[in-house]
């Protein structure tokens, strides 16, 4: 029975390592996402105030203020003169994600990721292959557009529509209209385009992706000589293009693209343990035993490729 629930991309991993190990990073991510959101919900729902606020800005135990640097950036574009706590809070987050990888926010914190992962899983299970391809650079255009709109209107523009904030506020502050846009994102990812929201459109992810370009924590295809070209990692990965240079290139085996969420999906899915968590300065001299100089053609099913 449980077999039906396993997504195709994880089957090779499950066969090689068992159900649990093939979902290790997935489980850790879900625990992380749910506990972060849970910490925020404990206050309003149970009166246990460890954390106040929401993902836009928060106060941890009355001691530290944290703030979303992207929202602050929009405010600055809108001409605000911010108070000190929000600036230091944004700097703390900025430094944290520079170390952990910007898009760790997407993979490990953002609750919309659970929605879109579910859409993707259902898409795979129901065999929906209809895929209106989007350009993943669209999100950079939207990112720039939100800053322009903030500048023009003198507001924090993206927060008027941001599904990421809407879902968080709905969960933390009570259910409201915001659900409509979450359903829209789910249906978009399910019916229209593979991983449309998180990997192509969301400007929050685009912002953190730019941050992640210098990230210290990185996944490495350290054991790439063992690669059997099964394509499991490409299928499981929300940003398959990031794997190609590390796995099939002749340079560093580290996945250096800022788009990588450090989600560990490839580590889970690989039946021969090619990938592992590593850091930027590790394995500079690792053997380069990729299958060839082709650093633009993944061997797996084409499902993971974006046309550019």
């Amino acid at each position: 029975m449980i077999g039906w629930w396993i997504s195709d991309s994880r089957r090779p991993g499950v066969e090689a390592h068992g159900l649990l190990r093939a979902h290790k990073w997935w489980v850790l991510r879900r625990i992380s996402q749910i506990s972060v959101l849970g910490l925020f919900m404990l206050g309003p729902l149970a009166g246990i105030w460890i954390v106040r606020g929401n993902f836009a800005a928060s106060n941890i135990g009355g001691l530290v203020t944290l703030a979303d640097p992207y929202i602050l950036l929009q405010g600055l574009a809108g001409g605000t003169s911010p108070a000190t706590p929000v600036v230091t809070g944004a700097l703390i987050i900025l430094v944290a994600y520079l170390i952990l990888g910007g898009r760790v926010y997407c993979g490990w914190v953002c609750p919309v990721n659970i929605v879109t992962d579910t859409a993707h899983w259902l898409r795979e299970r129901t065999g929906l292959t209809r895929d209106r391809k989007l350009d993943r650079r669209t999100r950079l255009v939207i990112l720039a557009a939100t800053l322009l709109a903030s500048f023009v209107t003198g507001t924090v523009a993206w927060e008027f529509v941001n599904p990421v904030s809407l879902l968080q506020r709905a969960m933390i502050g009570g259910i409201g209209f915001g659900w409509a846009i979450i359903v829209a994102v789910f249906l978009l990812d399910l019916l229209v385009s593979r991983r449309a929201w998180c990997s192509h459109l969301c400007p929050v992810g685009a912002f953190y992706g730019l941050l992640g370009r210098g990230a210290v924590l990185r996944v490495s295809a350290a054991n790439r000589s063992a690669c059997t070209d099964c394509g499991a990692c490409f299928n499981v990965c929300p940003e398959p293009h990031v794997i190609v240079p590390a796995l099939k290139g002749r340079g560093s085996p580290l996945i250096l693209s800022g788009d990588c969420q450090n989600c560990g999906g490839c580590i889970d899915a690989c039946p021969v343990d090619v990938f592992r968590m590593s850091q930027r300065w590790a394995e500079a001299g690792a053997p380069t035993t990729g299958t060839g100089p082709r650093d633009d053609a993944p061997p797996g099913p084409a499902a993971g490729r974006d046309p550019l």
Binding site: G43, P44, W49, R52, G53, N54, A56, A57, S58, N59, T65, A67, D68, I71, L72, G75, G78, G79, T80, S81, P82, A83, P85, V86, G89, R137, V141, I142, A144, A145, T146, L147, L148, A149, S150, V152, T153, G154, T155, V156, A157, W158, E159, F160, V161, S165, L166, R169, I172, G173, G174, G176, F177, G178, D296, L308
Partner: protein, 220 residues
């Protein structure tokens, strides 16, 4: 990105750059248009004490809800789509729960962004101003001695007073708001006995007249 590897002539590079700029402008100005069109509703929203002027508030507030959670009376909430404030921003509806004017102003103290002035003294707050909008239904105008609004006012004796007057040939006591003392907390609106409150808190730019300027440009 694959585009980086593509051989690019100056012409295609410029065309691509122009397309991107075009897309950014299209997206940016569409979003801006959406925001300015929804902004019309904001005129009615009452902000927490110490809020910056509305246009500055919308650029400063990050919609974190720390003020909402700091309020001991559940007065504040973050606006959802279709409510009177910009989505995600804090506001309150005094007919439901007014501001109880805490001395330590926990909502403003909690604000990390400066959208609420954390040093505000509550008596200096200008959340709005009470206005006797429905004097035809006000019981005092009907010759009764209601005066609930005067008696519940937390700045009693200063913000609302009863002034003798005449209406419909009767001597009456008129509830009169003094805007230099009224903070807009909304306690009067909350307790007004008419079905639809006859005294209501409006944002100050809606609720107050202005001195204005004479044609020569001098303040009158």
């Amino acid at each position: 990105m694959a585009s980086g590897k593509r051989k690019m002539t100056r012409r295609t590079a410029m065309a691509e750059a122009a397309r991107t700029v075009g897309a950014v402008c299209l997206g940016g100005f569409s979003l801006a248009a959406l925001i300015t069109s929804t902004g019309q509703a904001d005129a009615r929203a009452l902000r927490p004490p110490g809020a910056r002027p509305e246009e500055d508030f919308l650029a400063s507030c990050v919609r974190c809800g720390l003020c909402v959670q700091a309020c001991p009376y559940d007065t504040l909430s973050l606006a959802e789509w279709g409510q009177e404030a910009a989505v995600g921003t804090p506001f309150f509806t005094p007919r439901e729960v007014p501001c109880y004017m805490c001395r330590d102003v926990p909502c403003a103290r909690a604000c990390p962004t400066g959208a609420l002035d954390s040093d505000i003294a509550i008596r200096d707050a200008e959340m709005g101003v009470a206005v006797l909008v429905g004097h035809e239904d006000c019981l005092n105008y009907k010759g009764m001695n209601c005066s609930i609004c005067v008696r519940v006012c937390p700045i009693r004796g200063d913000a609302i007073t009863l002034e003798p007057g005449e209406f419909d040939g009767r001597r009456i006591m008129i509830p009169t708001v003094h805007s230099d003392h009224c903070t807009g907390c909304g306690t009067c609106e909350k307790h007004c006995v008419t079905g639809h409150a006859s005294i209501r808190v409006l944002p100050r730019d809606l609720g107050l007249g202005g001195a204005g300027r004479n044609p020569a440009g001098r303040a009158t």
